[in-house]
């Protein structure tokens, strides 16, 4: 049975789909990052999450600083164009607010782990990692031999998040989801996951085809929540611009535990229902 996606509120979706201890992927490649959903996870106080993402950025810094994460599976953790993720660094360098276990890959490895997950395969192969120190630190990288040529390649296991959350431009009345612009690894991340939540700018009667679109049929998505601006300070092409000042300002807030805690209490937790 192809169940259509359920349209619900962000709070209900996070409450029902994201549980303590889950493996959670919030994907987005600079564009369409599901910030509002990440903030809702913080508000609902989820703990012991394994956070998965190719490019953990500010929203993961915020989740890590708020103590939601026990583990991070990733390939590049920085503030793009600005510098470090200071909450991420504080967790790794000083176990604050709690220890953060790392599983570290390259982009190519992570992308292929999602591809394997979306494909129902237990692993993927790539030309990667050779000569680097990553396989020594990441047991999830193993050699595999080509049965035809004898060449040795790298194998990585499928990623299958308990829940993947993405932000998209819109959905139609049936729950079919449409996104365009830089769509990164979001299709694979949704298809690899057991459950999925898509926050959208709006729901429209019917989807007008758009060049470069990726469409996820309603039966491939678990839940949809309408969250206009749900990618802020990231952006949704055709709806909003990237708030570069927020990324720059985050550097100062996140460098200091007290400044971060003030941001968390005053900006994120206090205004219930608002975006941080």
């Amino acid at each position: 049975m192809a169940e259509p996606a359920r349209v619900t509120t962000l709070a209900e979706a996070v409450a029902s789909l994201v549980h303590d201890g889950d493996v959670v992927a919030l994907e987005g490649f600079t564009h369409l990052i599901p910030f509002a959903a990440g903030h809702e996870i913080i508000r609902q106080g989820r703990r012991d999450l394994t956070l998965v993402r190719m490019t953990p950025d500010l929203v993961y810094d915020q989740l890590i600083g708020a103590g939601c994460a026990a583990k991070l599976v990733f390939s590049w953790g920085g503030n793009p164009g600005v510098g470090s993720l200071h909450r991420f660094r504080d967790a790794v360098e000083h176990n604050w607010p709690r220890p953060l276990e790392l599983e570290e890959h390259s982009h190519a490895g992570m992308a292929n782990r999602y591809v394997a997950g979306a494909s129902g395969l237990p692993f993927a192969i790539l030309r990667g990692y050779s000569g680097t120190d990553l396989p020594e630190r990441t047991p999830n990288i193993k050699p595999v031999t080509c049965p035809f040529t004898g060449e040795v390649l790298a194998a990585v296991p499928a990623l299958q998040p308990d829940v993947t959350i993405i932000h998209a431009q819109r959905a139609d009345a049936d729950g079919n989801v449409q996104m365009w612009g830089i769509t990164g690894v979001q299709k694979e991340a949704v298809l690899a996951a057991r459950r999925s939540l898509v926050t959208v700018e709006e729901i429209v009667d019917a989807l007008t085809p758009v060049p470069g679109q990726v469409v996820l049929p309603t039966w491939a998505v678990t839940a949809i929540a309408v969250v206009p601006g749900g990618a802020h300070p990231s952006y949704a092409q055709g709806y909003s611009e990237r708030d570069n000042d927020y990324y720059v300002a985050w550097d100062a807030i996140s460098r200091d535990r007290e400044a971060f805690d003030r941001w968390l209490q005053e900006q994120l937790l206090a205004p219930v229902g608002g975006a941080g």
Binding site: H31, N79, G131, N244
Partner: protein
Amino acid sequence: MSASVQPPTLAQEWSADEMMTIAAARQLHAGDTCFVGIGLPSTAANLARATHAQGLVLIYESGCIGAKPTRLPLSIGDGVLADTADAVVSVPEVFNYWLQPGRIDIGFLGAAQLDRFANINTTVIGDTYDRPRVRLPGAGGAPEIAASCGEVVVIVRQTKRTFVETLDFVTSVGFGTGAGDRERLGLRGSGPRMVITDLGILQPDPQTCELTLTHLHPGKAVDDVREATGWPLAVSASLSTTEPPTDHELATLRSLEATKSGTDS
């Protein structure tokens, strides 16, 4: 894109970063395909497009192939990259169909640490991986860019902390342990062609693959470079001086920088 030409007096002075960026841009040619990381590599690649290499094909790991940004992107996922690209593909596709098979001529990489064989660390600084002194962003696309591009250009500011005897972590392979090691590891690109710093240019020795100082930027001395290098520096017998920035290069770079809407790390 045509840069607004600045008065020549401005071009008489330049910063070390400007010299480095301009020297890097000169390494790119009109017909090249170039895999661009964010930061200095992106600035240099866009400078090349705006000066001598209009036909340079820029490929960003966000999936933008043939991006022709009219302003400097702040991130590898800026909307201007998708809007101006010949094709926007998924992230798995850019790595699997475009980078991995060796379709990209030049990979442009930065580094937090670099050793004499141009191996790169962007993972951790400090003795222990589990509790590092500095946790860096990590690998990103670099290991496979370093492995699969036809050749690699590294652009990095040169200091003793950066140019080290031994990397704390090997994130991306240059020449590994030396001549022949790339072949042994099955890496199919030919590896780093040059390392461009704020002091000069280093190139691998044709026999040993050890980085050798081949160019000094104007006003820099060999001792400046030695003091900024954590191993006994090899210096080329035919050491030469980098051509200083032209007025056009400098004016174009400055006008490009002015289009960037944020800061750069």
